[in-house]
């Protein structure tokens, strides 16, 4: 097989640049597949596992770039490698022609002495080092890096508390401070609601739903997905809640997380009870309840709706669908076309919290919903969080690079088990410029494959975004709908709609209001 590898020494590039380079090389004549990696230990493991390692690649150091090309002929592979080298050289030339950039945090601080925050997205193995240095220089930290060991997270957060600085993360995808979004962030208005979130896509979903309800956020402080674990014990959640409690722009607060560890819960509940502002909590998987003034809800859109209603003095109670009549009409249309669906729902998610929420919605409706990759052919409903560390070693997050998901949409088209695909699209700054396009392309091929086998395949999606986002929520929704994908107004509704397609007998309970 003509797989060609080349190592370019001392040519560090970030994962987004590498993804774009691989995409450009993939488009060259004869190229079947192209990959660009830095020679980190994790990437060496990946290359060995995929059989792409060679004597040359094994010698690559973390700052060396490994190019791997699989092409129809050796000449085409060599031509593709030469083109990749040329593109890199052009990029380096352009960087040299631009401003000389500081090589260290300290030299950056000399250039920007008023800096108050370090945004850090280096590979996880180096994240603690850079974040500690930033905290010790008096900066708050937004730590996007994933694959950071738990013990490093604890050291970082203890140091942050000692310095009275925010350590947002690790694995913090999104934050909003003073009206500015960091990481993957949507274009949402400023407003009176502060959010503390151990979840990037959860924060995005809540901020977007608040925007649709005419509300805005004062600040959205990410704390990293493990903050309410037994080990991290809510270090940054408590600190962030305290900051919002005394912030004059914040009138009310939403907390989003997975369920706190039982050892952490009593302390959290006590802290929440002391907060002097209206509060809604959505710890996905924790039961809905009213504890004093604190309302616990089950879904992300429910958190936004409950708080917005509360601030306006209105009642709110959770409903399976905002518009059950429209859902009934849509189901009728699909069924009248004569569906022949496989028995399983397959969720292919870019947003981790959205995947978790979908599982929680589907579990009581469809029975056990598995998480993660099955052995091929294993029956049952399944939700995959394609942003998990195991899928993103050596490649960018699926919100940036659609390839992880589109490959699986195509596979689903060939599976007799999969009847309904459940998808999330997350818009905003930092994410793919047009996520609907690759999903629709893969979906078209997957659906055609199913049809050729005499089966139907329905895709159900929800979109997290606003009309102000670079991708434009309305345009993305229209694109998906025109392409035949069923778009629901929230992730929870999309999951319930998927359940209705598999189990029509649920209509009575889920569409009772219609």
């Amino acid at each position: 097989m003509p797989i060609h590898t080349q190592v370019i020494q001392s040519s560090y590039q970030d994962s987004v640049v590498l993804m774009r380079l691989a995409g450009e090389v993939r488009a060259l004549p004869g190229v079947r597949e192209a990959a660009c990696f830095m020679g980190t230990p994790a990437n060496h493991v990946l290359l060995e596992q995929t059989g792409l390692a060679s004597a040359g690649s094994r010698a690559a150091r973390p700052e060396d770039l490994i190019l791997v090309v699989d092409a129809a002929t050796g000449a085409e592979a060599e031509a593709a490698l030469a083109a990749a080298r040329e593109r890199l050289a052009r990029r380096q030339e352009a960087a040299r022609a631009a401003d000389v950039r500081p090589r260290t945090l300290d030299s950056a601080l000399r250039r920007l002495p008023g800096a108050n925050l370090a945004a850090i997205s280096v590979p996880g193995a180096y994240a603690k080092l850079e974040a500690l240095r930033a905290l010790r220089r008096g900066l708050h930290v937004f730590l996007f890096s994933d694959n950071v060991p738990l013990e490093d997270e604890i050291v970082l957060k203890d140091e942050a508390l000692r310095c009275r600085r925010l350590c947002m993360g690790p694995d913090c995808g999104t934050a909003y401070l003073n009206g500015t979004g960091l990481g993957f962030s949507n274009v949402v208005p400023r407003g009176r609601i502060g959010v503390v979130a151990a979840s990037g896509t959860g924060l995005q979903a809540v901020a977007c739903r608040l925007a649709a309800l005419g509300e805005g956020i004062s600040h959205g402080i990410g704390v990293g997905g493990r903050d309410l674990s037994a080990e991290v014990a809510g270090r940054m959640t408590h600190f962030a809640l305290g900051a919002l409690a005394t912030d004059s722009a914040t009138e009310a607060i939403i907390l989003i997380s997975k369920p706190p560890h039982p050892e952490v819960l009593p302390g959290l509940e006590a802290a929440l009870a002391r907060l002097p502002k209206p509060l809604v909590v959505c710890c996905l998987g924790a039961p809905p309840r009213l504890l004093g003034r604190v309302r616990w809800v089950e879904t992300l859109d429910g958190a936004a709706e409950a708080l917005a209603a509360g601030l306006r003095g209105a009642d709110w109670s959770p409903q399976p669908f905002r518009d059950p009549e429209a859902v009934a009409i849509r189901l009728g249309r699909l069924r009248s076309a004569g569906l022949c669906l496989g028995p399983d729902v397959l969720g292919l998610y870019a947003g981790g919290t959205l995947a978790h929420e979908a599982r929680l919605v589907l579990d009581p409706l469809l029975g056990p919903v598995a998480h993660g990759d099955p052995c091929p052919g294993t029956p049952g409903h399944r939700i995959l969080d394609l942003g998990e560390d195991r899928y993103t070693v050596g490649r960018p997050h699926p919100m940036l690079d659609p390839l992880i998901r589109t490959e699986r949409i195509l596979q689903a088209g060939h599976s007799a088990r999969v009847g309904v695909l459940l998808l999330d699209l997350v818009l905003g700054r930092g994410t793919h410029p047009d996520p609907a396009e690759p999903v629709l392309r893969a979906w078209g091929q997957g659906r055609a494959a199913a049809k050729a086998d005499g089966r139907s395949l329905v895709a159900v999606a929800s979109v997290v975004g606003t009309p102000g986002d670079p991708q434009d929520l309305n345009r993305q929704v229209a694109q998906l709908a025109q392409g035949g994908i069923e778009v629901l107004p929230s992730n929870a509704e999309a999951a319930r709609f998927a359940a209705l397609l598999i189990r029509p007998d649920l209509e009575r309970s889920l569409l009772a209001g219609g």
Binding site: R61, E63, G114, I120, A243, D247
Partner: protein, 58 residues
């Protein structure tokens, strides 16, 4: 005013270490930002890099 509160009252001013895309987005949003030309320290050996950082902070 406490340090964490000050961040919530001041405009952001950011040093970006890692994905350039984030610096570009911040710049487009009118935020003052400096991008660090980061590469793996100490030849890519995290343990050696941590040792060097400790020496630097002593």
């Amino acid at each position: 005013m406490t340090d964490e509160r000050r961040l919530l009252d001041e405009p952001l001013c950011v040093i970006n270490i890692g994905l350039e895309l984030f610096a570009q987005d911040l710049e487009a949003a009118g935020v003052e930002v400096v991008q660090v030309d980061w590469r793996p320290p100490a030849g890519g050996n995290p343990r050696m890099a941590a040792l060097l950082a400790e020496l630097e902070d002593d």
